[in-house]
């Protein structure tokens, strides 16, 4: 059965492996994927542990529905204490690894200690081997996957790996699988690098038996039609997530030159439709019919002939508007390099854009950059900066430390120009005209982040009736909700609902593009009970699923509080309040966030969560979720 997969405890220091079943009781509380990982994180990482020390724990998991007939059940979750922020480290990736891990017999890996030299894990049909990876150390993410497949003699092996950035402990290094799937945020690649863990390979032939296969197939067909008939999905099939950037820039909600503007006009060459001209087709993840991943060959320059997937919205921001570049060649090459090096594209672009503003303001000079001319719009300097970060050379060695540590090293006024929350850079969007989205990044549990709680549909001007239907299920809500994205009122509940929705899909192992993220009429709490029941046999109501998500999200909050989170950190950089947007449509132009209104939003957000005024879950809330005695060490 889908529920029979095991948890494996892998001690790299002593090279020991132990496996255990996952009790049904824990499934009912946390589902799987990110949910159970958060339980493991809270229970296995000692308070105050050094994120790059042997006491940190590297977690890898498949979701409850990963590898089943549920649509886009492709996701793999990667977690640990973040080397970037010191708070929750958590990142989710598409591709094929998660399903393969399940077919090899495992749902959760808990990797502790530190190997005495480079190793990789080979997981196959219920077995786990720790193997030497000296020959893989120094290889890029693509080479490593090919070499592992060749060595083990099976082209169908799925491999997760770090690139050189992870080996060099770049604090925003990611874990990669296949050409472009990245567990991108919070520096999980650096955590693996600190353990000398280069890769994990999986291959399985153990069937995932479904509870009601015929009915599951039928129901999934309906869900597929629901997803693929949405305009947003049809657009993604053609343009990938790049399409979001086009719409966002047209309105005036992108971040340009490190927050100095909110729209880049006449940048036709980096419009999604222009990048689409380079594409030779699209690819998809396990069980997905949307196929949003553009495929292309680089046609010019030193990387000519390289076969690449992507770029996504974030790479377009990172190597386009943020760094003031307007040629698609830079976007395509930048995207390729971060995938090879295993770098978080968002953080990489943000760090370079920040350094460019410091350069513009004279805080960094050519003396600091060893002659690298970090002017906005210098395409060559942007690409060189990517190499320097991954290889920890020159100014790259400082930028590789991530926002807060780099600002401390540079000194002067550098910190003033950082666009970050909790030490993690913001998405390349401008949230000054959109308080709901601003609240999302200020409060997200892994630092500034759109994939934790962004109510993106708030931008669609949906009628209140539609909003009530979405945001009133499965927990009734009769407070205010408004169609106007400039409003402050009613938005905290939207953020909380999205938190639960995204937490739930991350527990299930389903792609976020198959729920209420970019499209309002996508599957969510109404559809999931049946999907879960038909695939796994587990009977859960919509409210049960919500509670599982709430439980996991609350544990994330508890983890962060234990590691020093304060109310003051649920806040935005000063520039959100003090500088006004200078471009875009009239509705977004001349906007900044109002401090008082925003403070009220935070209060309301805490209240709705049943957290106290300092942002700590109340005793009542903990008891309602059964968390009052955590850590309970049941797994």
């Amino acid at each position: 059965m889908a529920l029979s997969r095991k948890i494996a405890y892998i001690d790299l220091t002593n090279r020991r492996v132990r496996t255990a079943p996952i009790p049904l009781e824990m499934r009912k509380l946390y589902l799987g994927g990110r949910g159970l990982d958060m339980y493991l994180l809270y229970n296995h990482v000692k308070p105050g542990a050094d994120p790059l020390g042997p006491d940190n724990v590297a977690l890898v998991s498949a979701g409850l529905l990963t590898g089943t007939l549920a649509t886009a059940s492709a996701r793999t979750h990667v977690a640990g204490k973040s080397p970037l922020t010191g708070f929750v480290g958590s990142a989710n990736m598409g591709g094929f690894f998660g399903p393969e891990l399940r077919m090899a017999g495992f749902d959760h890996l808990v990797i502790t200690g530190k190997a005495d030299g480079p190793v990789y894990l080979w997981i196959h049909d219920g077995e786990i081997e720790i193997r030497d990876a000296s020959h893989l150390w120094g290889r890029d993410a693509h080479q490593t996957q090919t070499m592992v497949r060749q060595e083990l003699g099976d082209d169908d092996i799925q491999v997760m790996t770090i690139g050189v950035a992870g080996e060099n402990l770049v604090r925003f290094a990611c874990v990669m699988t296949s050409l472009k799937n990245a567990a991108g945020r919070t520096g999980m690649g650096a955590l693996w690098g600190s353990k000398n863990l280069k890769a994990i390979a999986a291959r399985g032939r153990m069937d995932i038996k479904l509870a009601f296969p015929e009915e599951a197939l039928e129901y999934n067909k309906e869900i597929i039609t629901q997803v693929t008939s949405a305009k947003v999905s049809k657009t993604m099939q053609k343009l990938g997530t790049l399409f979001i950037w086009g719409t966002t820039n047209s309105t005036g909600l992108v971040r340009v030159r490190n927050f100095q503007s909110n729209q880049i006009p006449y940048a036709d060459d980096i419009e999604p439709e222009s990048i689409e001209e380079e594409m030779i087709g699209t690819a998809g993840c396990f069980g997905c019919q949307v196929h949003c991943r553009g495929r292309y060959f680089i046609k010019k320059g030193p990387y000519t002939g390289a076969y690449v997937e992507g770029p996504e919205y974030t790479s377009l921001g990172a190597f386009g508007a943020e760094v003031g570049c307007t040629t698609k060649q830079t976007v395509l090459v930048g995207n390729h390099l971060v995938n090879m090096y295993g770098l978080d594209t968002l953080e990489t672009g943000s760090m370079i854009a920040w350094a460019m503003e410091l350069f513009e303001k004279g805080i960094l000079t050519e003396k600091d950059t060893d002659g690298l001319d970090l002017r906005f719009g210098n395409d060559e300097a942007v690409i060189e900066a990517v190499h320097q970060i991954a290889q920890r050379r020159g100014i790259g060695d400082i930028l590789a430390e991530g926002p807060l540590k780099a600002a401390e090293k540079i000194g002067k006024d550098a910190i003033k120009y950082l666009i970050h929350v909790k030490g993690m850079s913001n998405l390349h969007s401008d949230e000054r005209p959109t308080p709901a989205l601003a609240l999302n990044i200020a409060t997200a549990s892994r630092g500034s982040d759109h994939l934790r709680s962004r109510p993106a549909i708030d931008l669609y001007h949906l009628p209140e009736k539609v909003l009530r239907k979405i945001y009133g299920n499965p927990v009734p809500y009769d407070g205010p909700l408004t169609s106007d994205y400039r409003d402050y009122e009613g938005k905290p509940w939207e953020v909380i609902w999205q938190e639960m929705c995204y937490e739930a899909v991350d527990c299930l192992g389903i792609c976020k593009y198959h729920t209420v993220f970019l499209g309002p009429n996508m599957p969510n709490f109404s559809e999931w009970p049946r999907l879960i029941q038909l695939n796994t046999g587990l009977e859960l109501t919509s409210k049960d699923i919500w509670d599982c998500a709430d439980r996991a999200y609350t544990l994330e909050r508890l983890f962060n509080l234990r590691e020093g989170l304060t109310r003051e950190m649920d806040w935005l950089p000063d520039r959100y309040f003090d500088e006004k947007t200078d471009r875009g449509l009239p509705v977004v132009r001349g906007k900044s966030i109002d401090r008082e209104e925003f403070k009220k939003m935070i209060d309301e957000y805490y209240k709705l969560h049943e957290w106290d005024e300092k942002g700590r879950p109340t005793k009542k809330k903990l008891e309602a979720l059964g968390l009052q005695d955590e850590p309970t060490h049941k797994l």
Binding site: E215, Y219, E222, K234, R486, Q533
Partner: protein, 84 residues
């Protein structure tokens, strides 16, 4: 296991989908440009959009007609229509 007794939520959603239109990003009016049109000006607010047809029946906004929309915005900011 539970039986399906009525039309599922998924099926209802699919029935309600529209095509051939996009919403003006400025005034949110639903617009129906003539097939294949490269640009379209919103009859409601005067903003002009470049159009991309991601398939023959489905248009989306590729981007603004920059100078037209900037002029519109300048005008409306002067009249203080940004609001809030």
């Amino acid at each position: 296991m539970s039986k399906k007794t009525e039309e599922s939520a998924a099926k209802k959603v699919v029935k309600g989908r529209t095509s051939g239109q996009f919403r003006c990003l400025n005034c949110f009016e639903r617009l129906t440009p003539p097939p294949g049109a490269k640009t379209f000006t919103c009859p409601n607010c005067g903003y002009a959009w470049r159009i991309y047809w991601f398939n023959p029946g489905e248009p989306r906004i590729r981007g603004p007609v920059w100078d037209v929309n900037e002029a519109q915005t300048q005008k409306s900011m002067a009249e203080n229509k940004g609001g809030k």
